[in-house]
Structures are given as structure tokens and as C-alpha cells.
């Protein structure tokens, strides 16, 4: 492999027999000896440990506050209204109303802690430095990020940090531990209860080894991470959302708080506001939907969607597709015209030259299991 970036857990991945791939410029484990299917099922039944150290960790500080008010110029979310110790899903928008990246923002009192996608890291840093005048934007490069996900996650992590038992979904804490300071959020990318843990790079492997020593915990690669998030109906940036998809087209209306919408106290004031606010009121011409193939053949990203079994040009396209191990069936997401977006609508996906029936389906495919 060419010069790839490494996470602090690279040696451990190799030791555990991971199959490695290039992802966003990093050498990352796609699967461990257990295999994608069993890793996926194990995470839903017990707990899985993911290395997500490739993601960008950023601290933002304002000149006289934590930068929350300034941050609202970049995202359509309420950041000024985010309580201390809480985290929120957000996205950077562009002037065309598209999505530059999706991210997590936490209010940690005198600063914001932001986690962005690995592939967008450089662009996001530039966007924040240009768009947050007077604020300090500091990329954190000496910390790893681990995710411990699944119904067994709380019991395991509570042995190390008892305080996590009191955390609710989207709470964030900074905790001292035998692994030094841990930045913990109760969140993830699987639809399961769980935690994301930022740990100093010198302690990351020690923490991972201690977590993996529990019977409940198995290492999980990027393969199962993708099938878990797809079952949970969560978008993958670059596939399901990108610079050309608007938040309303993507079905992310729920992530735009009332205070930033028309009639709200801090309405608009973010890139692409005109289009996004208009679509919030009037709807978008196309929508991201769940797709349930009626047969067993998976419909993967790029499969064209048609209204009928023959003729006509495609009406949409699959943006993510895979087999859902918990669902026990193939599943997909894609964009279709608003008029064809009602659950139960039958469309046809063209797979190897044949049009196979697929139903528009509610998301998520597998219900979330968060501790609210």
C-alpha cells in the first residue's frame, strides 16, 4: 500500500488478524477473523469496539465565548441553544444548499468539540477557519477515537468510568481514568446504545486491550460498521449525502431546529439558507428513502431505479445498498421523486440488466436502541 496514515491501534489490528484496506488515506481494518456478518450480529447482541481514529477531532473557541453563536453561520442547527454537556448532529451547508459534511458538535463549556468525517477533514478545517473569524480552530492530532457500541457497552465502560451509567443519549463528559482524560459521548453510528471515547494516543492501545478483554466485546471492522449504519438508516457522507444533496432532500429535516427555521428567533444565516428554508416549508422535489428489494439480490450503490418494469428513463438511484445481517434481507437507500417516496411504493432496480422489484420502505430498517 502507498504511504497511508496510521491510527494508534494499527499494530493491534494487525496482531488481531484484521484484513486491512485504504480508507480516506488511512490503513483501516475492514474485517477481523470473525467476519462481517458475525461482527455485525455480535455488536447488536453484546458490544463491538471500533477504531474511528481516522475521524477529525477539532476544538473551537470563540474570542469571548465557546464559539457557539459564530458556529451557527456554518450550520442550520441551533448551536447557541445547545446545553453544556450535550452533543448534536449537524451539517456544514454550502451556498447551493448542499451538504459539505455531516458532523457532531458538543458544548463543553468554554469550547465546542467537533467530530468530522475523515475524508472531509482538511476541507472542514479550512471551512471553519474561514467561516469563524476571531475563533480558534484547533485540530486535535494526538488523540485516538474509539467507539464502543451495543447493548453491553454501558456495563463494560462503567467498570472504567462509573459515571457513564448516568449519561443519556447525546450527553458528553470529560472523565479522569487510569487511561488519563477521556472525552466520552453517548452516541455512535450503529443505531445501538453506546459511546464514542476520545483517548490520548499513548493510552489508546491500553484502553482498547482492556475493553477487548471483556467477553462481551469483539473488534469490529469498517465492513460491519457500514451494514450497521445502513440498517439504522444513517447517511454515509459521500454516498447518501454530498455537496449536491440538500438536507430536506436527504430527509434530515428533523436535524434543523425550529429556532433556525422561518419564524424562529435565529432563522437563516447559514449557507444555502434560502433554498433550505424554502424546502422546509414546501418540500423538495426528490427525497432520500429506504428501499427493500423484494428478492434476495442486494441492490448496491449506483443501481438505477425505474418506475416500471420496462421503458422510460431512470427516476432515481441507489446510494447505499447491502445485505442486512439483522434484517436478514437486502436493504438500500436512494433518491426518488417526492411523488414516488411514500413507503410501499413499488419501483424497479436494474441489476445485471434485469429490473427487479423494490419497495420504498420506512427507515430505519432495524429500530434504534438508544438510552434516551
Amino acid at each position: 500500500m502507498p504511504e497511508l496514515k496510521r491510527t494508534p491501534l494499527l499494530g493491534l489490528h494487525h496482531e488481531m488478524g484484521a484484513r486491512m484496506v485504504e480508507f480516506a488515506g488511512y490503513e483501516m481494518p475492514v474485517q477481523f477473523p470473525m467476519g462481517v456478518m458475525k461482527e455485525h450480529l455480535h455488536c447488536r447482541a453484546a458490544a463491538g469496539l471500533f477504531d474511528v481514529s481516522h475521524m477529525g477531532q477539532v476544538i473551537v473557541r470563540g474570542p469571548s465565548d465557546n464559539g457557539a453563536a459564530a458556529f451557527e453561520a456554518l450550520v442550520p442547527q441551533s448551536i447557541a441553544g445547545l446545553a453544556q454537556g450535550r452533543q448534536r448532529y449537524a451539517f456544514f451547508t454550502n451556498d447551493a444548499g448542499g451538504i459539505e459534511d455531516d458532523l457532531m458538535v458538543a458544548n463543553r463549556g468554554d469550547h465546542l468539540f467537533v467530530v468530522v468525517n475523515a475524508a472531509c477533514k482538511a476541507g472542514d478545517l479550512a471551512l471553519m477557519r474561514a467561516g469563524l473569524p476571531g475563533c480558534e480552530v484547533e485540530e486535535i492530532t494526538d488523540r485516538a477515537l474509539l467507539a464502543l457500541q451495543g447493548p453491553g457497552a454501558e456495563a463494560v465502560l462503567a467498570d472504567i468510568v462509573p459515571g457513564v451509567r448516568e449519561m443519556r443519549f447525546m450527553d458528553v463528559i470529560v472523565a479522569e481514568s487510569v487511561f488519563d482524560g477521556l472525552w466520552i459521548s453517548r452516541s455512535g453510528y450503529t443505531g445501538e446504545d453506546g459511546f464514542e471515547i476520545s483517548v490520548g494516543e499513548g493510552q489508546a492501545e491500553n484502553l482498547a486491550r482492556v475493553l477487548l478483554a471483556y467477553d462481551a466485546v469483539e473488534p469490529i471492522g469498517l465492513g460491519a460498521r457500514d451494514s450497521l449504519r445502513l440498517e439504522a438508516g444513517l447517511c454515509l457522507y459521500g454516498n447518501d449525502i454530498d455537496a449536491t444533496t440538500s438536507p430536506v432532500e436527504a430527509g434530515l429535516d428533523w436535524a434543523i431546529q425550529k429556532v433556525r427555521r422561518r419564524g424562529g428567533a435565529r432563522a437563516g444565516g447559514f449557507p444555502g439558507a434560502e433554498r433550505i428554508l424554502d424546502e422546509l416549508d414546501n418540500g423538495a422535489a426528490r427525497r432520500r428513502v429506504g428501499l427493500a428489494p423484494e428478492g434476495r439480490a442486494p441492490m448496491r450503490a449506483g443501481v438505477a431505479l425505474y418506475e416500471g418494469e420496462a421503458g422510460a428513463s431512470p427516476v432515481g438511484e441507489v446510494t447505499s445498498g447491502a445485505f442486512g445481517p439483522t434484517l436478514g434481507a437486502p436493504m438500500a437507500m436512494g433518491y426518488v421523486p417526492a411523488g414516488l417516496s411514500a413507503p410501499g411504493t413499488r419501483l424497479y432496480g436494474e441489476v445485471r440488466g434485469r429490473r427487479l422489484p423494490v419497495l420504498v420502505a420506512d427507515l430505519p430498517f432495524v429500530p434504534a436502541n438508544f438510552k434516551r
Binding site: 475492514v30 474485517q31 467476519g35 445485505f323 445481517p325
Partner: protein
């Protein structure tokens, strides 16, 4: 038993050739989630793409190793594609072909040669 460079195995059962994929292939593919088999009675030409196999990772084709007629297919792996990972050399055979020219079998590798081939 003979082996192809496409990681298929071929076993002669009284003149009918049983075809499956090797353990090495099933490991490389990862968990198999979908199999599409040819139709019984179908005449095939060597190197035709006649089966589709999809794993959690990707789709791949299985080529006809010989000219001939498909005489039987293994519906059990369509109903339970996971068998391909569990028992690729046994229960999870794909199809049986009556070769037009049994001499084509000679083109393929022995088990020892295949082991060298996959390293």
C-alpha cells in the same frame, strides 16, 4: 478433483462434473449473502458467466469451466447462501454439468498445482 484459476473445483461423478468454489475463494469473498444459479437444461460455453455470487462486500461471477449442459443445480445454497462459507467443498456445490468434451478437464490444475497457484 481439478481446480481452475477462477478458484472453482471440478469433481467427476460418473461422467457428470460437479462444480463449486474453493475454500480460498469463499474466504476471500467473505460472508456470501446471495447466489443465482443457471437453469437446468441450459447449454453453456466455457467462460460464460453463468452464476452470480454476492458477499457482504461485492458481487462476482462464476464462469462455466467447460462446454456442456447444466443437468442439476444446488437450490440449497440459494435458500441458505451461508452454506458456501460453511462447506464450500462439500454440501455447497453449485451445479452439475455434462461436458461436451471431457478432454477440457485436462486443462485444469491438480490439487497440488492449485495450492502452489494460490501460494
Amino acid at each position: 478433483m481439478k481446480f481452475t484459476e477462477e478458484h472453482e473445483w471440478l469433481r467427476d461423478e460418473d461422467g457428470v462434473i460437479v462444480v463449486g468454489i474453493t475454500e480460498h475463494a469463499s474466504e476471500q469473498l467473505g460472508d456470501v449473502v446471495f447466489v443465482e444459479l443457471p437453469e437446468i437444461g441450459h447449454s453453456v460455453t466455457k467462460d460464460d458467466e453463468i452464476c452470480v455470487i454476492e458477499s457482504v462486500k461485492a458481487a462476482s461471477d462464476i464462469l462455466a469451466p467447460l462446454d456442456g449442459e447444466i443437468v442439476e443445480v444446488n437450490e440449497a445454497i440459494v435458500d441458505d447462501p451461508g452454506k458456501v462459507n460453511e462447506d464450500p467443498l462439500g454440501d455447497a456445490w453449485f451445479f452439475k454439468i455434462r461436458p461436451a468434451d471431457p478432454g477440457q478437464m485436462d486443462d485444469y490444475m491438480s490439487e497440488a498445482e492449485y495450492k502452489t497457484f494460490i501460494g
